[in-house]
Symmetry: C2
Subunit: 323 residues, 2 copies
């Protein structure tokens, strides 16, 4: 079995060899730029690991599926950055900032089409495409739900998971299952790997919500409290509104919607409510529960335990935010 770092290198090398044409330059240069702007390549590595559980050799066709997953992910980032008016991603200008909206729309479209082109040569392509199509449309649904929910004072925990499930977990789950499908894994194992990655994705997102509020800004890589200022429907916010009652609930929602309070002051006040309801403990319990459920699904994949070592390491690395 290859390690995470070996597989990351394999993905990087394959990405650098991806033969995108030179012209038209304003279509392909932004595609190359977005693909080479870093990222931890977690999703394609997940695809390769889930394939490697079932087959000896990772051939080019399997690598192409992993690339397709990364291209799809990059497509979503290019288009999301237009919608969010984002100037920076991973410390460098976004495609929409470096070029413009039109270039970002078109190069995103090109990226999605290129992802499909890579998938079409996959082993068990029909089944791989079926899984991919479902995940792709769900990611679009998740993006729209995120926007829809912005307009509501609060949402239920069920709605929260409906949204982050589609925005985050679905793609990690698809990355895992298409690797297994392409490697000819039995349906039950594919399903367990899908559930493993889905729960892992949810655990990651809940933890991400927490880190946005509580981590060391330098380690986290951006200013903390951003989700509070942007009034995002995070796990912290949603689970707090779920336990507050009547006047306290109304006051908290009012505080969250306040746009005149000074930034630091607002963050401090919101965090005081979070502390009062014990949000840290809620997050801790939820992440632990989701991660345990993920590992339970991995345990039920019907192969020898030693074949799961690298994938367990990957799951831990994802949660520990390791490069």
């Amino acid at each position: 079995m290859h390690t995470f770092s070996q597989l990351t290198q394999m993905v990087e090398q394959a990405l650098s060899q991806l033969a995108l044409p030179a012209s038209p330059n304003l279509l392909y240069a932004p595609m190359r730029y977005a693909l080479q702007s870093g990222g931890k390549r977690i999703r394609p590595v997940m695809t390769l690991m889930c394939a490697e559980i079932f087959i000896q050799n990772i051939d080019n066709e399997i690598v192409n599926i992993a690339l397709a997953v990364e291209l799809f992910h990059t497509f979503t980032l290019i288009h999301d950055d237009i919608m969010d008016h984002a100037d920076l991603r991973r410390g460098v200008p976004t495609v929409v900032k470096k070029w413009d909206t039109n270039v970002a729309i078109l190069s995103g479209d090109g990226m999605l089409i290129e992802a499909y082109r890579l998938l079409c040569g996959a082993p068990n392509a029909a089944e791989v495409l079926k899984v991919f199509n479902r995940a792709a449309i769900e990611v679009c649904e998740g993006q729209q739900l995120d926007v829809d929910f912005e307009l509501l004072p609060t949402i239920s925990l069920e709605q929260y998971y409906e949204m982050v499930g589609r925005k985050t977990a679905v793609l990690l789950a698809a990355a895992a299952s298409i690797g297994a499908v392409a490697a000819g894994a039995p349906a039950a194992d594919v399903e367990h790997l899908r559930s493993f990655a889905y729960k892992l994705g949810l655990a990651f997102q809940v933890q991400d919500d927490y880190l946005d509020c509580y981590s060391n800004a330098e380690e986290f890589g951006k200013a903390t409290g951003g989700d509070i200022i942007e009034q995002k429907k995070t796990f912290l916010f949603v689970s707090t509104t779920a336990v507050l009652k009547e006047k306290e609930l109304a006051d908290f929602i009012c505080l969250m919607q306040n746009t005149t309070l000074e930034r630091t002051e607002k963050i401090t006040q919101v965090k005081a409510v979070y502390a009062k309801v014990g949000v840290e403990k809620m997050v801790h319990n939820e992440v632990e529960k989701l991660f345990a459920e993920a590992m339970q699904h991995l345990a039920e994949v019907n192969v020898a335990d030693d074949k799961k070592t690298e994938i367990k390491n990957l799951a831990l690395a994802i949660m520990q935010r390791k490069k």
Copy 2:
């Protein structure tokens, strides 16, 4: 064989039965809206006709391929209308105008993914997808070339065909060839149908350039001369710059780039140059030549002549702009 109007009805019915989910509404409502905003359904009908040459029955799987072609076309319109800041299409507000840029980006993405989903169930799906992927990326290339060429004083006729080939002809060619591929047509016949539709698409575009300048505004459905005002690299412009020399060429390009001249005056002056070089005759000859080449490819498709009657009628209807 079904007639054009029978097949159009078949496409309309299948489109109305396309089971798009209700929620999230801001993802799927714009998709439904864009699909139901009319259009002549030329491309999906071309797919069905090219399949019907080779098989007795048009089943759901073939219809789904035709729908995928229409969905792809609609995806390009939704995204193009963002890039062109277009408010109206076929007399109704564009998606970007009726909603906003973000909704138009996301519902366009959803449309493209839905097109792929429909294609994945096609007979000979692997081959169908291969043709479709190639066409899809070329359409993106064509859109970018169009933008790139806007910045040049003029382009060669070769560049003109490179651009309109990708923007217009490629998709009609793909529509024809995937119908034939799905119906199990021999490779030589697929290739002739592809070339037939490609040349037909070019003939249509050259004629369209002409009509934008010379047709009766009421019949054409919009004010004529728009391409002159927008300084588009049309066949008329490109073939005129190809025959003008030195000072006349410089003067003409200068006239075309003039943005201070009053609209009617500019159109009149440009048309005077067009008349001087005999652009009407050039267009006539070019359209005739391209259409003849298209029909020659159709003639070489190795099936009985009576099976080609409807497709010939379609080609004539396309050129005559018949509904």
